[in-house]
Amino acid sequence: MTEGIREIQGHLVVALGGDIDLDRAPAVRRQLLDCVKRQQDILVDLSAVTYIDSSGIASLVEALQWATSRGTGLHLVAVSPQALRVFELARLDRVFTIHPDLDAALAAAR
């Protein structure tokens, strides 16, 4: 699992990986909400996510709502096929801005 937060061109890039389930979702939620407080656009890299369920999705939805209410952006990047399937099921692929890779996300967020 490759995880961590980097700052690139003034944006926070949060890489999440592995299984984001009921066990891990609270930690992911805290991590994302801490990022939102920094008032920078957040790019969440989901390329290494092997499983995500409704609790993981809920953490991302909450972070998106927090970011939106604070006037910052939260974008998804390189969403793995397993995760994209779940976003599509929830019809959240229309709610989140999803970029194919980090370069595209940085260009759009500029």
């Binding site: 299984d19 389930d21 009921l22 066990d23 499983y51 369920d53 409704s54 609790s55 999705i57 809920a58 953490s59 939805v61 909450e62 709502q65 397993q82 399937r85 779940v86 099921l89 929830a90 019809r91 709610v95």
Partner: protein, 144 residues
């Protein structure tokens, strides 16, 4: 409840704790592949069972982690049958009803996933009178 020709594949008894669910997922994925489902469909079945277990943890046992989850898996020629049983108090159907997707808020998606991913999902009290049972089925041939 079972098709007459259904073969019992496995019975798993596991604590209703979030940190144990990875074992349930690994088991269900293996069972689904054993039943002949492709990897993508196996992942769908894993997600449905994961959501069912999450409902047990959050609603039937209210996060206490002190009750068991029973998972029974049966296989017949046409479908895979998965039964998730808990021993908690009755869960009101409203607690496990899918919510409207346009209602954008955290939570409430799990039951929507279950109904979207499985061919049938029937929730009710256990025939023994103790606990709740969710029985789900997945057809091997979606066209049938």
């Amino acid at each position: 409840m079972n098709a007459p020709t259904a073969e019992y594949l496995l019975e798993l008894r596991i604590p209703a704790r979030a940190d144990r669910m990875v074992m349930v997922r690994d088991t269900v994925r293996s069972a689904a592949r054993f039943c002949g489902f492709d990897e993508r469909t196996a992942q769908d079945i894993v997600l449905a069972v994961g959501e069912a277990c999450q409902n047990v943890i959050l609603h039937a046992y209210q996060g206490r982690g002190d009750g068991p989850i029973l998972l029974d898996i049966l296989d017949d020629a046409e479908r895979m049958i998965l039964r998730v049983t808990d021993f908690g108090p009755a869960v009101t159907p409203a607690a496990v009803q899918p919510r409207a997707l346009q209602d954008l808020r955290p939570g409430g998606l799990g039951t929507h996933f279950i109904h979207s991913l499985m061919d049938t999902a029937d929730f009710g009290r256990s025939p023994t009178g103790v606990g709740n049972v969710l029985q789900m089925t997945k057809k091997k041939d979606p066209a049938k």
